[in-house]
Every structure is written in C-alpha cells, then in structure tokens.
C-alpha cells in the first residue's frame, strides 16, 4: 500500500504528542530536580519527600506517550500494516497529537510548583498536602487535552 499524506499527518501527530509532552516534563523536572538536590544536600533524609515532588511532572510525558501509541495503533503504524488514511483523518489525528503535546507543556509550570512545594514541605512538613493540591491543579490542562484528543480519535475511528 502506498503511504498516504494522511498517514504522514498521523505520524506527525504521534511525534508531537510525545515530543512536546516529553519537553514539558523534562523542563519541569529541571526545576523540581534542582530544588530536590538542594534539599537533599542539606538533609539526605528528605529524599522520599523530594521523590514524590519529582514524580508529579512525569505525567505529561506519560499522556504524550499514551497518545502517541493510540495514534500509531489507529493508523496501523504499529505492527507494520499501515491503514489507508485520508488527509482529513490524518489532520484530525495530528490535531489530537498537538492538543496533547501543547497541554503537556503544563509540565513546565507543574515542575516549578513542585520545586516550590518540595522546598516548602521540606522546611515545613505541615504544608505538604496544600502544596500537593496546588501542584495537582497544574495537571488539569493536560487532562483536558487528553480527553479532547481521545474524543477526536474516537470520531475518526482510531479507537
């Protein structure tokens, strides 16, 4: 089967979903990780606390990864039997990838919040819960992005 332009758009969508989501996570972890190393340099016993804060920004990359897999599955790119996908279907799959990728950049903001939360809760353990709530709020753009992307993929029969 001749690969169609639609297949190309879908592949681009998969790449953007993970690429941007991964960038959001990597940059966010830059903030929270650096704060974490500062904390454990002063008190290694805080490693557990620091680990929790560094786990949170990972979720955007996971959403991007899942979306990439779903798009590739729907387009038949996994398993070596690509489907014949129209340009419209391909662009919708691209759109799904873009929305997850762009909302995945919320990982940058979440990483900043997690860095601040790690510092605040290391200094005052009683604010751990409140700081966690603030960090989780930064997750919502990514969650909405995934929901819309899934609906888009459902519309074109990828799922």
């Amino acid at each position: 089967m001749e690969p169609t332009m639609g297949l190309g758009y879908a592949a681009l969508g998969a790449g953007i979903a993970l690429g941007l989501g991964g960038a959001g996570t990597a940059i966010g972890l830059g903030f929270s990780g650096v704060a974490g190393t500062g904390i454990i340099s002063e008190d290694p016993r805080k490693f557990g606390n620091v680990l929790v804060w560094n786990a949170l920004p990972q979720t955007q990359m996971i959403y991007g990864f899942l979306m990439a897999i779903l798009i590739m599955l729907g387009a038949g790119l996994l398993g070596g039997t690509p489907r014949e996908i129209s340009d419209t279907e391909g662009l919708i799959a691209l759109g799904a990838g873009i929305v997850v990728g762009l909302t995945g950049l919320s990982g940058i903001g979440q990483g900043s919040i997690c860095g601040g939360g790690a510092i605040a809760s290391a200094k005052r353990p009683e604010v751990f819960g409140q700081s966690l709530v603030l960090a989780v709020l930064a997750e919502t753009p990514a969650i909405f992005g995934v929901v819309i992307a899934v609906l888009m993929l459902l519309a074109i029969g990828f799922l």
Partner: protein, 354 residues
C-alpha cells in the same frame, strides 16, 4: 499545510531553544534557594531561645551539639562561644558565596570582603584599647582578601596602620580626625562600614542584572539603617552636621539633624522622612542600644518581606543572611550576658526575635 508544518516546527524550535536558556538562568537560583530554605528551617525558634536563655553557660556545648554550631561551640566559656560563632559565620559566608550564581559573585563578594573589615576592626580596635599584639592576632579570622596584610598591620601603631590603608578601599583618614579629637572608636568603626558598603553598592549598581532588584532593595535598607545608626550616635555625641556627613552614605536630612536639640526630637522629625519605615513606632527616652535594636528589628522585617516578594530569586538568600546574622547576634549576646550574671528575664529584653 506547509504553513502549518512551518508554524509547528517554529514553535517547537522556540520551546527547545528559549526555555533551556531560561532554565539555565533560573536553575542556579533554585538550587541556592532550596539550600538556604533548608538552613532557615534549622534556625533557632522562640521555644529554643527560651530554653537557651534559661540554661547556664556550662550547658551551651550540649545544647548546640546537634545543630549547625555543634563543631564550633565546644567549650562552656564566652571566649570559645564567641570564637565559634565567628568561625561558623565565616564558613557560612564562604558557603553562600559559592552557592550564588557566578554572574552575581561580584556583588556577593561582600560576604568575603566583610571579613577584611572585621579583621581591620579587630586590629584598629586592639590598638585603640592598647591590647597586646598576640591577643589581637588571636582574634583575627583567617578570611577575606587581605588577611595576611592585615595580620602584619597588627604589629604596627595607629598612625602606621592609617597610613598603610591610604589609597586602599579602606582608607580611613577622613574619620581619624574625629577619632583623635574625641578618642571615640565609633568614628573609625562607622567609616570602615561605610567603605565596605560603598564598594558593594557600586558593584550592584554597575551590574545590570535584573536579578539584583531584590538585593538592591535590601542594600538600600541596610544603607539607610547604617546611616540612621550613625546619625543617632552623632546626635547623642553632639557631632555637628558637617562632621557626621563624612560617615554617611547619603545625608538628605541635614536640616532635621541640625535643628533637633536631642535624639528624641531628631527621631520625631525623622518620622516625616524616608527613614520612617525604619523607625516605626519607636517611643521616646530609649537609649542608643535599644534604638539600634529596634532599627535592626525593622531591617529584619524588611528582609523577610523581600523574601516573600521574590520566592524564587535572591529573596530567600537575602532573608536567610539577615536572619542568620540576627541569630548569631542573639547567641553572642545571651552568652555574654550569661557570663556577666544577667538574669534570663533581662536577657530576653535584648534579643532580636521576630
């Protein structure tokens, strides 16, 4: 479609290129912030101060054993405690200097230079008090950029030291006249502080770093407090406006200074000037030591405000340095007053706690 692809690639390139640059600039500050916040968590709180004030000097080493002062305060004597505090402060200053981003090290250099000033003060103070050379040398701290030369100066007399400092950043000829006329060491002390400050302010102003906005705000507060303390001492010592000017960074209240007949009137008039934030609600009839304590309290408050305003910049570093200085001052004072047999109730009045 080509346009869409172009836009997407451009957006990606922007994220990949610009965000890491921002990260590279912010990361060093985040690390420093995390470290100082952890250090701040270990500062002595009200409950611990209550406990310390009620202890005897003999119990000080065991009280500080599991704290940052543990390896410095090892004997229950005021001399050991004072020396321990100095060495701890020196190690901390060097640590913070290494922590701050390298592009700001020119400004935070003051953490090292302050030890040149401290050592010079020791030498000049020792000469003023007629202390033996060995005792002066024992009190010097191996820190700063001029330690070896200052050590040599401790073997000379006052005239030779003043002459040796000519042309250096710590030229104190301006204050020596007043010192000789009054035999009041405060004039030399004030001038040394002014000289150090002038250099720090110069560096901060020349640097166009936006990050220094917080630091500059704090510098302004410190400069104001230095000038205010100098003016209050001058007023109490009946020093004229023309003479006191030499010891100030900025003297824009000369009319209020000249026209006030005493310290209380001067303070009342200062409440209408830009120094009002430092004076607060200070009452009348306080002695110089109490006034200086009130001013230090306001400086500390300002440092804390600055820290809250800029949680991820230099704010926490600046605030921590101020709080740590206050803590060291408190411990030194508690130890000194304990050694003099002062009661815990009286000691509490002198502490600087927010």
């Amino acid at each position: 479609m080509d346009v869409l692809v172009f836009v997407l690639v451009a957006a990606l390139a922007a994220v990949v290129f610009f965000v890491p640059i921002y990260l590279l600039r912010t990361t060093p500050i985040i690390y420093a912030t995390a470290v100082v916040k952890m250090k701040e968590a270990r500062l002595i709180d009200d409950k611990k101060y209550e406990e310390l004030v009620s202890l005897d000097l003999e119990d000080f080493p065991s009280f500080f054993e599991n704290t940052d002062y543990g390896k410095y305060i090892t004997e229950p004597t005021y001399e050991n405690i004072e020396r321990g505090l100095l060495l701890h402060e020196k190690d901390l200053d060097y640590e913070i200097f290494d922590l701050v981003p390298k592009d700001l090290s020119g400004v935070f250099d003051y953490l090292i230079k302050k030890w040149d000033v401290a050592n010079l003060r020791r030498v000049l103070g020792g000469l003023h008090a007629g202390m033996p050379v060995e005792e002066v040398k024992e009190g010097l701290v191996e820190a700063g950029y001029m330690y070896e030369s200052i050590q040599e100066l401790s073997e000379r007399d006052m005239e030779e030291v003043v002459s040796a400092l000519e042309g250096t950043p710590y030229d104190i000829r301006e204050g020596v006249e007043e010192y000789k006329a009054t035999n009041n060491f405060s004039f030399i002390d004030l001038l040394l502080k002014k000289r150090m400050f002038e250099r720090v302010v110069e560096e901060a102003i020349w640097s166009r770093e936006k990050k220094l906005k917080t630091f500059n705000a704090y510098l302004q507060v410190l400069a104001d407090s230095l000038d205010l303390n100098a003016m209050l001492r001058g007023k109490a010592g009946v020093v004229g406006a023309d003479e006191i000017r030499r010891f100030l960074m900025k003297f824009d209240v000369d009319r209020e200074y000249e026209e006030s007949k005493d310290v209380d009137e001067f303070l009342a008039r200062l409440k209408e000037t830009r120094y009002s934030y430092l004076i607060g609600d200070v009452g009348e009839g306080l002695d110089l030591m109490e006034l200086e304590r009130k001013i230090e309290e306001q400086v500390l408050r300002k440092a804390k405000d600055i820290s809250t305003a800029e949680a991820f910049g230099l704010g926490p570093v600046v605030s921590f340095l101020a709080l740590k200085e206050a803590e060291i001052r408190n411990i030194r004072l508690i130890a000194k007053l304990k050694a003099e047999g002062v009661s815990p109730e009286k000691i509490r009045e002198f502490l600087l706690i927010l």
